[in-house]
């Protein structure tokens, strides 16, 4: 509707150009999201907003995530892995150009990987590159990567936004002028407002349908609702107000996409802080929680219950919600056995997202029902990082862990929930050295069971990914296997 309006306005202003204006209107799109990237270098910050704008659109890696989470070829068209799993030979696509017109070759790949793993690197996911012993240029389209030891997730690691291939010449200005190999080129960034991309006409792959893309940043949920309703924006990814979604669903002008994310939302528990160091107490908390009530109350029904730290859409997922059914009587019994017949007091420190703030209120009341007094304090992210994450000064917290396949954090005893289980740690070490798919699958299932039976955290739900879009927009990613708004396959249905 807004599209045709634009055309009418154009007619009034300049009759001669009306045909071309109408045509252009159906090949541009405005995509809104809540958070603005702090800068535009995906290889040196954790901000998901950077990937949400640039992943696949502007920057590409050797491999990449497909919309269903599968790892597919990216700038490397194929690869050979040595029998012992420590040597990867990547065959790069020929004739790929960076947006500045220079060629992308094996030297650029070596530069990008070496830069990410260097001593002074500021890559926020440096662990992805930790196993790389050497990167060698074989010829202009062949790169050999030697690993210290076999790593079953190496191709997966190379698909992350933090592992995209960058040009050495562009590094100095990358934070404000990203130069990649993707289907769209960066045009303009009005800080605080929007980022504009344009179609890359010399793209190596099939050309995208869209000619220009505007990413608009709207932080306030009410403003987000108004912008969609007024059709100022064509798409809102990660729509921040789930309570408004039924209204959009009922409106023929819009479509609502509900997909999955990699965000395991958990009641993070400090495993070293008494009495939470007692597994019976943690088990009691798990049984005191009614997941569905939290999903309904805090997320207005959007979300999938989980019983362990693993994404339900993953083929290796095991449904362990049965380990922690809602059972307040059992919770009270367990507390009595643990020596706390009258419950105890602890802290519940909540970061800003609504899943935490709303979910926190509900969890606190569910805990109160079995005698546990959880004192809520609301923190900003920066405070949360300092007090909870780094200072480990907390009893309980609620956080969605959005990194894909991050069950390995349970093998880090210094990590903020301070879970220290040598058996689990050994399993993770074995897992990363295993490349056989069937064996990896068994190990991942075992790992899910261990943390579920140890009640490390309260496992709540998998965060849903909700997108509201104009009904005529097609080809959007429904799920979010990584934080990305891949627009290469998006078009208008007219």
């Amino acid at each position: 509707m807004i599209k045709s309006k634009k055309c009418i306005v154009a007619t009034a202003i300049a009759l001669t150009t009306v045909a071309s204006t109408c045509f252009a209107a159906s090949s541009d799109i405005t995509v809104a999201m809540q958070l603005e990237p702090p800068h535009l270098d995906p290889t040196s910050a954790a901000a998901g907003a950077i990937d949400s704008v640039l992943y696949s659109n502007v920057f590409e890696g050797l491999t990449r995530f497909a919309s269903d989470g599968a790892i597919i070829a990216g700038l490397a068209k194929s690869w050979d892995i040595s029998a012992d799993g420590t040597e990867y030979i990547f065959h790069l696509r020929a004739g790929v150009q960076f947006h500045d017109g220079t060629g992308m070759d094996a030297e650029d790949v070596k530069f990008s990987l070496d830069r990410a793993r260097a001593g002074d690197s500021t890559n926020s996911q440096k662990a992805l590159f930790a196993g790389i012993a050497n990167v060698a240029v074989v010829d202009s389209t062949t790169v050999k990567v030697i690993l210290d030891k076999p790593n079953g997730s190496f191709l997966f690691n190379m698909a992350w936004g933090d592992a995209v291939i960058v040009a050495p010449e562009s590094i100095e200005g990358i934070k404000n002028n990203p130069v990649g190999t993707g289907a769209f080129t960066f045009q303009k960034w009005v800080q605080g407002d929007r980022i504009e991309l344009a179609r890359n006409d010399s793209y190596w792959g099939s050309a995208p349908a869209l000619e220009s893309v505007t990413f608009q940043f709207i932080a306030d949920p009410t403003a987000a609702f108004a912008a969609v309703m007024a059709q100022d924006v064509d798409v809102f990814t990660g729509f921040p107000a789930p309570e408004n979604l039924p209204q959009f669903e009922a409106d023929a002008r819009f479509q609502v996409l509900e997909g999955s994310t990699e965000g395991e939302t958990i009641l993070s528990t400090n495993n070293k802080m008494p009495p939470l160091d007692n597994v019976k107490v943690r088990k009691a908390i798990a049984h005191a929680i009614d997941r569905q009530a939290i999903i309904d109350g805090a997320m207005f029904g959007y979300g999938t219950p989980i019983g362990t730290h693993f994404a339900p859409h993953h083929p290796d997922y095991v449904d362990l919600t049965g380990n922690s059914e809602h059972d307040p009587e059992l919770a009270k019994k367990l507390l009595t056995e643990a020596g706390f017949p009258n419950g105890f007091e602890t802290t519940l420190k909540l970061p800003p997202p609504s899943y935490a703030r709303r979910g926190g209120e509900i969890i606190a009341s569910q805990l109160r029902a079995v005698g546990i007094q959880a004192k809520i304090s609301n923190l900003e992210w920066a405070q949360w990082l300092e007090q909870v994450f780094r200072g480990k000064d907390y009893g309980l917290s609620i956080v969605s862990h959005t990194e894909p396949m991050d069950i390995g954090i349970y093998a880090r005893p210094e990590y903020y929930f301070q879970y220290d289980n040598p058996q689990f740690q050994a399993l993770m070490t074995d897992l990363s050295a295993t490349t056989d798919t069937a064996m990896r699958s068994e190990m991942l299932k075992k790992a899910q069971n261990i943390i579920s039976e140890d009640y490390v955290n309260g496992f709540l739900f998998e965060l849903a990914f909700t997108t509201v879009a104009d009904a005529k927009v097609q080809g959007l990613w429904k799920n979010a296997p990584t934080q990305a708004t891949d627009l290469t396959g998006v078009s208008w249905s007219e």
Partner: protein, 315 residues
């Protein structure tokens, strides 16, 4: 006068120095490290240390204070931690929205307040006056962000006359730019216009009870004639003071309105900078706002002294 001006200027400088110390201390005390915030929860300690070094955060607090204040004296606020661009450029870019918005709101509120205030004063005690008092009371009481949402629902969602927010920029012409600032300016202007109307009304009523007004009336001047020729000019002094104060409020006070209309102005910059712990941006923008408020007060002080000779001497 010269001595008075010198004294005022000295106190202005002292206030600025004190403000810089207070701002720096308060912001630095706030918990949260910009480097950890940017790198998130998977970052390794050596990565955070590398970024801290890159940002210059590994230097002592005192050294950073000197660098910041020294830079400001040369008109250079430094470089933003998160955006990595020069803060001076960022602020001037945002000023192209915040300043026109504040001016627009000020012009609107003055254009509303003058006729309303005059009307109410001339109809003192009558139904019209009572209505003005009631409506302006409501205008002061309604939170401007709520009023902003109502405007969006009516004019953006229902009528489609304006977009729900965002700023079109000045490149496509003055009209397009002003159009995107219209709803925010109205939302900002409403409480200001209400306050100003009331000040205008009471100042006029007070002036109208002065002896010289009675003399003018006794000489045969009409009620309206007295209002326009004598009362209005004298009532302007308190009104202008309020307008001066409102202007600094409008620049600093637009934070919430900029959120509601997602305008990339100064307020939004501060808001984002606080959550991201972009401390140097917070410090610089707050310092700039302090400078604006103190300067406006300085000018008002001088204006008073020009009008009222008692201030120049003795005091």
């Amino acid at each position: 006068m010269l001595q008075y001006t010198f004294k005022r200027a000295l106190s202005l400088c002292l206030s600025l120095c004190l403000a810089s110390v207070v701002i720096f201390t308060v912001v630095e005390i706030a918990p949260g490290d910009p480097a950890s915030f940017m790198l998130g929860i998977n970052a390794q300690p050596d990565t955070i240390a590398a970024l801290r070094a890159e940002l210059g955060l590994d230097q002592g607090k005192f050294a950073r204070y000197l660098e910041w204040t020294g830079g400001m004296l040369k008109g250079d606020f430094g470089t933003s931690y998160t955006y990595r661009s020069p803060i001076t450029d960022m602020i001037s870019e945002r000023m192209w929205i915040s300043l026109p918005l504040a001016l627009y709101a000020l012009v609107l509120s003055t254009l509303i307040a003058f006729p309303v205030g005059l009307y109410a004063a001339s109809k003192r005690g009558a139904l019209g006056d009572v209505a003005v008092i009631g409506v302006t009371q409501l205008g002061i009481a309604i939170p401007n962000f709520w009023f902003a949402m109502v405007l969006v629902v009516i004019f953006a969602i229902k009528l489609r006359w304006f977009s729900a927010g965002g700023f079109a920029g000045w490149d496509d012409g003055l009209f397009i730019g002003l159009k995107s600032l219209t709803l925010p300016a109205i939302a900002l202007a409403l409480p200001q216009a209400s306050i100003l109307s009331r000040v205008m009304r009471s100042a006029l009523i007070e002036t109208l009870s002065e002896d010289y007004i009675r003399t003018a009336r006794a000489k045969g001047l009409s009620r309206q004639g007295v209002l326009w020729r004598h009362a209005l000019r004298n009532a302007m002094i308190p009104v202008l003071t309020i307008i001066g104060l409102q202007f600094s409020f409008l620049i600093a006070g637009a934070i919430i309105i900029e959120q509601v209309f997602f305008l990339p102005g100064l307020g939004r910059l501060v808001f984002q900078a606080i959550t991201q712990r972009d401390l140097i941006v917070v410090e610089s923008v707050v310092m700039l706002l302090v400078l604006a408020v103190i300067s406006i007060n300085f000018i008002i002080d001088l204006a008073y002294a020009a009008i009222d000779p008692r201030l120049r001497h003795g005091l």
